[in-house]
């Protein structure tokens, strides 16, 4: 099963389990099933609850908020994450605020799903990783799914169990990746924290104490995992990899536990470098871990994502870059 199938299966399961679930988005009807096919099969199975919409990102997020306010569980697909800026006001000033401003009288069980990321040559308005601009919005939860464990389960929790608005980040390159179960690999061990949106902790099976803590989310967690393996087997550098599912509100205790052992922190993200997710990780680490922290961020260069392959590759971080950075930190 790949991530696409897991997410699609989860949507089917949610709609089967609760008649309150409504799904809105552009071009989501059969036989198309959405630009990335995550909605495949939904409109034929649940015709009354799958609504294909005009090209109106702000409007459909706002409609989702309204539906959520009135007893439904709304799932809105934004075709490309790059278009989420069009809905920024609806997210920041409506979805995220209503519960709090009402004095806890209303809830907004809304999930906004959207694919981010580059690697496919789609160019500057179809390849971005914009979630960094939506981190730290009071009242908004931002989740990023990975290929680990149970991506469909995370989506299901967000839809059925969470009564607050969720921005649910998928990555285009993740869809085709096989889901990696907790027990599957003999090369590494993978632990999951107890929260609804777990933090994963990956170590190389049977390795010496870790020398470095790496943290990454989403598709970058995949690259980090590859880097951790190669660092161990090719360079004898042993790293802990900590992978959050929830980016905002910020909550990353397992990271601090690992840092207490390693004192070295490397963050990896596909969003552009400055004022990104990694900034909060480092800031949080230096505040709570205290002095004697060695830290570094890897991220996309601070520029738009170019369309041409060689250009795009030079802007987005890769496995080699992680290995290089880790080696520099250890040496």
């Amino acid at each position: 099963m790949n991530v696409l199938q897991a997410l699609n299966g989860s949507l089917h399961a949610c709609m089967a389990e609760s008649e309150q679930v409504y799904f809105l988005g552009e071009d989501i009807l059969e036989p198309y099933g959405g630009a990335f096919k995550v909605a495949q099969g939904l409109s034929t199975t649940y015709p009354g609850r799958v609504i294909t919409t005009p090209v109106s990102e702000a409007g459909i997020v706002g409609l989702g908020v309204g539906m959520a306010l009135r007893g439904l569980k709304a799932v809105v697909e934004i075709m490309f994450g790059d278009f989420i800026a069009l809905a920024a006001d609806q997210i920041i000033n409506h979805a995220a605020k209503l519960r709090w401003v009402s004095g806890e009288k209303v809830r907004v069980p809304l999930v906004i799903r959207t694919p981010m990321g580059g690697g496919r040559g789609y160019g500057p308005t179809h390849s971005q990783t914009l979630e960094k601009h939506f981190l730290g919005v009071p009242g908004l939860r931002v989740l990023a799914v990975t290929a680990l464990d149970d991506p469909g389960g995370v989506l299901k929790s967000a839809i059925l169990e969470d009564d607050d608005p969720v921005l649910f980040i998928e990555h285009k390159l993740l869809y085709a990746k096989p889901v990696i179960s907790l027990v599957e690999s003999s090369e590494f061990s993978l632990q999951r924290s107890g929260e609804r949106y777990p933090v994963y902790h990956l170590t190389i099976a049977g390795s010496p104490p870790p020398m470095l803590t790496i943290t990454a989310y989403g598709y970058m967690a995949e690259l980090a995992r590859q880097a951790v393996q190669r660092l161990a087997f090719e360079h004898e550098i042993f790293a802990d990899l900590v992978i959050p599912t929830q980016l905002s509100p910020f909550s990353l205790d397992p990271l601090l536990e690992s840092l207490a052992k390693t004192g070295r922190l490397l963050t990896l993200e596909e969003g552009s470098h400055t004022h990104g997710w990694g900034a909060e990780v480092l800031a949080h680490a230096v505040e709570t871990h205290g002095p004697r922290l060695q830290a570094k961020r890897l991220a996309a260069r601070d520029m738009p994502i170019p369309a041409s392959g060689p250009l795009e590759k030079s802007v987005i971080p890769d496995v080699e870059g992680v290995i290089r950075a880790a080696r520099e930190m250890i040496s």
């Binding site: 005009p54 409007g59 459909i60 309204g66 009135r70 006001d89 409506h94 209503l98 401003v101 969470d162």
Partner: protein, 310 residues
């Protein structure tokens, strides 16, 4: 919440007067420093909220905007809780969180972002439709709000999916200080009709006329005929918010000659009218006094907007 009986002349007058006196008191008290923030008063437009919301049935939803006091009172919201909200008291509608523009109570929702509430309103109407509730949504907005793009995204979807919503466009001829001819090209009604939403339009402050028109539109909406728009040309007598009124005083005077209050008041028996006026004055005085005696909102009441790690 109870359904108001089919309104009689007295009730319509009383509701308008409650708004008028409340708002007058708000404006006149501002300089005394009892309020936080700012306010946008509804004086002059009372016939809109009262005439329209007299069509409301149990459970209907009202979506309002920055100028929400009149809508809220006509909806049946507590005058004391509204006064307390303006004064930042613990007993305010949202306990002092939202203030004047962000009033949420039962099925009433207001917000200070112009136009931002309109897709929410359409979403709520869609939710009520698919849940077969027979509830309808009344969504108020001003002429200036027609500047916001998301309004059109919402009109399109409301029409496409035939949701039970009545858009109430209050054209008070100004967006803040900007006269409508400087901010709006073409005719207001066309903005709705371009999305196949039928429009009823009136240039009146007669609450009975407005109520009759609204009743017809609301009935169509309730009958499942899809969205309707009501374009009401009106005028506000007070400044946009507290201070600065840049309008021509003569223009204001001209519109004051067609004041909705005396128009309706004159229809009442003079004794009855006097009684209503006394009752309303007492109600307002008591609401403000009680609010002022209430404790200020306590910071300890503030909750986190989200569970961090559920």
């Amino acid at each position: 919440m109870t359904v108001r009986p089919s309104p009689d002349d007295v009730e319509l007058y009383r509701q308008m007067l409650r708004i008028r006196r409340f708002e007058e008191k708000v404006l006149s008290s501002f300089s005394s420093g009892i309020f936080y923030g700012t306010t946008h008063t509804y004086i002059g437009q009372e016939a809109d909220a009262v005439g329209v919301l007299a069509c409301r049935e149990e459970g209907d939803i009202v979506v309002s905007n920055h100028r929400c006091h009149g809508h809220f009172l006509a909806y049946g919201g507590s005058m004391h809780a509204l006064a307390a909200e303006l004064m930042g008291r613990a007993t305010g509608v949202t306990g002092g969180r939202g203030g004047s523009q962000h009033v949420q109570w039962e099925d009433f929702y207001a917000n200070g972002i112009l136009g931002g509430t309109i897709p929410l309103a359409v979403g709520m109407a869609l939710a009520e439709k698919v849940q077969h509730s027979r509830r309808i949504v009344f969504a108020f907005m001003g002429d200036g709000t027609l500047g916001e793009g998301v309004v059109y995204e919402s009109l399109n979807m409301a029409s496409l999916w035939s949701v039970p919503i009545l858009f109430v466009l209050e054209n008070n001829r100004y967006a803040q200080t900007t006269p409508v001819q400087l901010h709006l090209a073409g005719e207001i009604a066309d903005r709705f009709e371009a999305f196949s939403i039928p429009v009823a339009e009136a240039d009146t402050v007669d609450v009975i006329e407005i109520h009759a028109l609204a009743n017809k539109s609301a009935a169509s909406v309730r009958a499942g005929e899809g969205p309707r728009a009501l374009v009401l040309h009106t005028y506000r007598y007070g400044p946009h918010s507290k201070g600065d009124d840049t309008r021509d005083p003569e223009e204001i005077l001209r519109y004051k000659k067609r004041d909705p209050l005396p128009l309706q008041g004159d229809r009442l028996d003079p004794d009855l009218r006097q009684r209503v006026e006394k009752e309303v004055e007492a109600e307002v005085a008591e609401a403000f006094q009680r609010a002022q005696d209430d404790p200020l909102a306590d910071p300890a009441s503030l909750t986190s907007p989200l569970d961090i790690a559920p």
